[in-house]
C-alpha cells in the first residue's frame, strides 16, 4: 500500500472544458467513489485526506524553515560580527535519539499496516520516549550554552541557534501530542475495519510528520555547525 498521496491514485483525469461539446464519461471525477469498494464507498478517500493534508502542512513548514535558513545565510554573509558557536557535544546524542525514534515509529506504522494492532502501541510509546529524550537533550544543550554565557542576543549565530532549535522543538512537541493521541486511540483500531483504516491513515500522517522533523533536524544541525 502506498503511503504517499502522489502515488495512490491519479488525480487528474481528462475531462471536458467549458465548451459546449461535452464528451461524457460515466462519472469518476474525483479520486473517490470508483464504485469498487461498495462497503465503504467514501472511507478510503476520507482517510486519504489526512495524508494530503499532512503533505500540505509539511510544505508550509518547509517554506518557513526555508525563509529562516535564507535569513541565516544572508545574515552570516553580510556582517563581521558573526562568531560561530562551538557545538555542544550533547547535540550528537539528540541526533542519535531522533534518528532512532524515526526507526521505531516506522516499525509501529508497519505493525499497524499489517494489522498487528497489539504490537503497535508499545512501539508508539517507545517513540514518544525517544522524542521526549530528544527534547530533553536539546534543553541540556541550551543549558550548556547558558553556562558558557551564550544567550539569544549574544551574537547572530547564537540567535539563530536558539531560534531554530526552539522552532524545531515546538514542531516536535506537536508531533509528540499527535503520538499521544494515536496511542490513546490505538485500542479503537482493533474494533473494526473502518477504525483500522482511519488509524492507519492517522499513523501514516503522523509518521510522515515525524520523519520530516527528523530530516529537518539533521538539516538544521548541518546548517548550524557544518556549513561555514
Amino acid at each position: 500500500m502506498a503511503t504517499t498521496v502522489t502515488s495512490t491514485r491519479p488525480l487528474i483525469k481528462k475531462g471536458t472544458g467549458g465548451g459546449p461539446k461535452g464528451r461524457v464519461p460515466n462519472g469518476n471525477g474525483g479520486p473517490k467513489r470508483n464504485g469498487h469498494d461498495r462497503s465503504f464507498p467514501d472511507f478510503q478517500s476520507s482517510a486519504n485526506r489526512y495524508r494530503i493534508g499532512m503533505w500540505l502542512g509539511l510544505a508550509s513548514i518547509l517554506m518557513m524553515f526555508t525563509a529562516l535558513s535564507s535569513a541565516y545565510i544572508v545574515r552570516a554573509a553580510s556582517s563581521s560580527d558573526w562568531q560561530p558557536l562551538t557545538m555542544p557535544r550533547i547535540l550528537l546524542l539528540s541526533t542519535a535519539l531522533i534518528l532512532t525514534s524515526s526507526v521505531t515509529l516506522e516499525t509501529a506504522r508497519r505493525k499497524l499496516k499489517s494489522a498487528a494492532t497489539r504490537a503497535y502501541k508499545p512501539w508508539l510509546l517507545l517513540t514518544m520516549l525517544l522524542g521526549l529524550g530528544f527534547l530533553g537533550s536539546q534543553l541540556l544543550a541550551w543549558r550548556e550554552l547558558v553556562r558558557q554565557g551564550v544567550y539569544v542576543a549574544s551574537n547572530p549565530h547564537s540567535s539563530f541557534f536558539y531560534l531554530l532549535t526552539a522552532t524545531h522543538g515546538v514542531h516536535l512537541l506537536g508531533g509528540l501530542t499527535a503520538l499521544a493521541y494515536l496511542s490513546i486511540r490505538s485500542r479503537a483500531s482493533q474494533d473494526n475495519q473502518l477504525a483500522l483504516i482511519k488509524a492507519q491513515a492517522g499513523a501514516d500522517a503522523v509518521t510522515l510528520y515525524w520523519h520530516f522533523m527528523d530530516f529537518l533536524w539533521i538539516y538544521l544541525f548541518v546548517l548550524l555547525f557544518y556549513i561555514r
Partner: protein, 624 residues
C-alpha cells in the same frame, strides 16, 4: 443509491444556537462569519481613509470630535503627522489582511468551493472553524494595537506597559503595512506608535498567518479529495480554480511572513540583531544595543510574501468575474483551458517577482533586470484573461444585472490598474515613481478596488443562494454607478500627482511649492473619496434589508449551470440533502445548440447517457 452511504459519517445538523451559528463546523456559516468580519474590518479601514483625506485636503481644520477621542494624537482636533502615519499603516494592514484576504477566500471560497465541487463540507471542518476564530483573534489584536497607541489610559495600563508601553499619540504603528526595519525593529525609540502597538501589530499578523495556513491547507485538501463523481478538474468552475491557486499561494507565502515576523519580534523584545544594523542614530542618541543586522533582509522576506499576497487578494475576484461574466453573457467562458493555465501562470510567476518592490534598495542591476523581465511577463497571462473576458462578452446578449455590472467593472479596473504595472515593473521608470502617488494609484486600482469589485459581483450574484432572497437591483445599480465613477475620480488624478512627484505617506504638502498647485486636485480626490465611502452605506443597507425583505429567489434564479444552483436556497446543512450530485459536463454550457434551454446544468446527462438508463452504478443526474 450508493451516495446515501455518505450518511454514515456525515455530521448531523447541530441543534443548539451556539453550535449552529457561533462555533459552527458548517463551511457555509464559517464563510458568512468571514464575510461579516470583512464587512466590519472594511468599515474601520474606510473610516481611516476618510480621516486621511480630511487631513490631506484641509490640513489646518480642527475636527473637534477627533480632539475629544484622541487628545494627544489630534490635539485640538488637528491630526499630527504621526497620527496620519499611523492611519496609513492601520488602513493598509486592516484592508490587506482582514478585508482583501478574508472575504474573497475565507468568505466566498469557504461558502462556495465545497458546494461547487459537490462536497458536503470542507475536508477538515474543525480546522476550518479554527481558522476563522484564529483570524478573528488576530483582528482583535490589531484593534488592541489601535487602542494601546490611541489612548493614554490604556497605553499606561498594566497591559500596555507589559507589552512595551504605548504612546497614546497615534492610532497604531507608523511604519506602514510593510513594517520596514529598522523603524519597526528598534522599539519606542523609533517614535510614537512603535512601542506596544508595533508588538501587537506583529503578533496580530503572526496569528493571521496561522489562520490563513489552516484555511489554505483545508481548501487544497478539499478540492483534491472531495470532488463528487464526474467533477474532473477540468470541469470545475473557474472560481474553484482561482480559490485553489490562491490557497496554494497562501500555503507557500504566509510561512515566510511568519518566519520574518518571528525574527522581527525577537529583534524588538530579546535584543537580537537580525534586521537592525549597528550605529543607528535616533534623534540625538546612538543605538548601541544592536549590531550588524540587515534591513534589506526584512524587505526580502516581507515581499516574498507580499507579492503573492497581492494575487491572494485578486485571484478570487478573477474567478468570480469569469463565473459571473459567463453566466450573464449566456455564453461559455471564452477559452476555459487558457483561463485555467493563466490563473496558474499568474500564481507561479507571483513567486519570482518580489524584487520589483525593492528596485531602490540598491540591488544589483542584473537582479533588477531579472525581476523586471519576470514582472513584465505576468502581463501575458493577465492579457490572456482580459482578452478571454472580452471574448466572452463579444456578441453576447448580455443581461445587465448588478453582479454583471460589477464583473464588467472588475475587468475595467483590472485593465486600468494593471497597465500601470507595466510602467512600474521597469526599473528605470520605477526609480522616479517609487513611493509616489503613482504607485498608490496603481495598486489601489488593481489589487484594492478591482478585488473589491470582484467581491461585489460575488455577493450580488450569490446572495440569492446564501439567503434565498435577491438584493435590491435598484439600490445595487445606484451603488455600482456611484462607486464605479467614484473610484476612477479618486485614483486617476492620483496618477497625475505621482507623475508630478507627490510622495506617499506625507501628511501635508503645503510647504512644497511644486506640489501646492495640486491642492485643488487633492480636494477633488477627497470629495470623490468621501462620496464613494458614504455610498457604501447604501450597500450595507441593501445587504441587511434584502436579507429580510428582499424579493424571494428560487433555487436557480440566474439560470446558471453550476452545482450550487442545483440545491435549495439557502442550501441545507450538508449542501445537497444527503444525495450528492453527479456531474456530466463542463461548468459553462450556455447556448448549447439543440438544447431545450439556453443553459445546461452540470448535472444534466447527455441524451446518450439517458438512453443507457440506469446502467453502471445507477446514477442519474440529480436535480431538485
Amino acid at each position: 443509491m450508493s451516495e446515501t452511504h455518505d450518511a454514515v459519517h456525515r455530521h448531523e445538523a447541530p441543534k443548539s444556537f451556539i453550535r449552529k451559528y457561533i462555533f459552527s463546523l458548517d463551511h457555509k456559516v464559517i464563510g458568512i462569519q468571514y464575510i461579516i468580519l470583512a464587512l466590519a474590518a472594511v468599515l474601520v479601514g474606510m473610516t481611516m481613509s476618510v480621516l486621511m483625506r480630511l487631513k490631506l485636503s484641509w490640513p489646518g481644520t480642527s475636527w473637534s470630535i477627533l480632539g475629544t477621542l484622541f487628545p494627544s494624537g489630534a490635539p485640538g482636533g488637528i491630526m499630527n503627522p504621526e497620527f496620519y502615519l499611523s492611519l496609513v499603516t492601520m488602513h493598509g494592514t486592516i484592508m490587506v489582511f482582514f478585508v482583501l484576504t478574508t472575504a474573497p477566500q475565507g468568505g466566498f471560497g469557504n461558502y462556495f468551493l465545497p458546494i461547487q465541487i459537490g462536497a458536503e463540507d470542507m475536508a477538515f471542518p474543525f480546522l476550518n472553524m479554527m481558522s476563522f476564530w484564529v483570524t478573528l483573534l488576530g483582528f482583535f489584536v490589531i484593534l488592541a494595537a489601535i487602542f494601546v497607541e490611541g489612548n493614554n489610559t490604556i497605553a499606561n495600563s498594566a497591559l500596555g506597559l507589559w507589552l512595551g508601553g504605548g504612546s497614546g499619540a497615534t492610532v497604531g504603528p507608523i511604519g506602514g503595512w510593510t513594517g520596514y526595519a529598522p523603524l519597526s525593529a528598534v522599539g519606542p525609540a523609533a517614535g510614537p506608535g512603535q512601542g506596544a502597538g508595533m508588538n501587537l501589530w506583529i503578533i496580530s499578523i503572526a496569528i493571521f498567518c496561522v489562520g490563513s495556513l489552516l484555511g489554505a491547507l483545508n481548501f487544497i485538501t478539499t478540492l483534491l479529495n472531495m470532488r463528487t463523481r464526474g467533477m474532473t478538474l477540468m470541469r470545475m468552475p473557474l472560481t474553484c480554480w482561482a480559490w485553489f491557486t490562491t490557497a496554494v499561494l497562501a500555503l507557500l507565502s504566509f510561512p515566510v511572513l511568519l518566519g520574518g515576523g518571528i525574527l522581527l519580534l525577537l529583534d524588538r523584545t530579546v535584543g537580537t540583531s537580525f534586521f537592525v544594523p549597528g550605529g543607528l542614530v535616533f534623534g540625538s542618541s546612538v543605538l548601541t544595543s544592536h549590531t550588524g543586522g540587515s534591513p534589506i533582509l526584512w524587505q526580502h522576506l516581507f515581499w516574498f510574501f507580499g507579492h503573492p499576497e497581492v494575487y491572494i487578494a485578486i485571484l478570487p475576484g478573477m474567478g468570480a468575474t469569469s463565473h459571473v461574466l459567463s453566466t450573464f453573457a449566456r455564453k461559455p467562458i471564452f477559452g476555459y483551458r487558457a483561463m485555467v493555465f493563466a490563473i496558474f501562470a499568474i500564481g507561479l510567476l507571483g513567486f519570482f517577482v518580489w524584487g520589483h518592490h525593492m528596485f531602490i534598495s540598491g540591488m544589483s542591476p542584473y537582479s533588477a533586470m531579472t525581476f523586471s523581465i519576470l514582472t513584465l511577463s505576468i502581463g501575458v497571462p493577465s492579457a490572456v484573461k482580459t482578452f478571454n473576458w472580452l471574448g466572452t462578452l463579444w456578441g453576447a446578449r448580455i443581461r445587465f444585472t448588478t453582479p454583471m455590472l460589477f464583473a464588467i467593472g472588475f475587468v475595467s479596473l483590472f485593465v486600468a490598474g494593471g497597465i500601470t504595472g507595466l510602467v512600474l515593473g521597469q526599473t528605470s521608470l520605477d526609480l522616479p515613481m517609487h513611493d509616489t502617488y503613482f504607485v498608490l494609484a496603481h495598486f489601489h486600482l488593481v489589487m484594492g478596488v478591482a478585488s473589491i469589485f470582484g467581491m461585489f459581483a460575488a455577493i450580488y450574484f450569490w446572495f440569492p443562494k446564501m439567503f434565498g432572497r435577491f438584493m435590491s437591483e435598484r439600490l445595487g445599480k445606484i451603488h455600482f454607478w456611484i462607486t464605479f465613477v467614484g473610484v476612477y475620480c479618486i485614483f486617476v488624478p492620483m496618477h497625475t500627482m505621482g507623475m508630478v512627484g507627490m510622495p506617499r505617506r506625507y501628511s501635508e504638502f503645503g510647504q512644497y511649492e511644486f506640489l501646492a498647485r495640486l491642492h485643488p486636485l487633492v480636494v477633488f480626490v477627497s470629495i470623490a473619496a468621501i462620496i464613494t465611502v458614504f455610498t457604501q452605506l447604501l450597500f450595507y443597507f441593501n445587504l441587511v434589508w434584502s436579507a429580510f425583505k428582499g424579493k424571494k429567489a428560487g433555487d436557480n434564479p440566474w439560470e446558471a449551470t453550476t452545482l450550487e444552483w442545483t440545491t435549495a436556497s439557502p442550501p441545507p446543512h450538508d449542501n445537497f440533502a444527503g444525495v450528492l450530485p453527479v456531474v456530466y459536463r463542463g461548468p459553462y454550457e450556455f447556448a448549447v445548440p439543440g438544447a431545450p434551454n439556453d443553459y445546461v446544468m452540470q448535472t444534466e446527462p447527455d441524451a446518450s447517457e439517458q438512453a443507457q438508463g440506469v446502467s453502471g452504478d445507477g446514477h442519474n443526474g440529480h436535480k431538485h
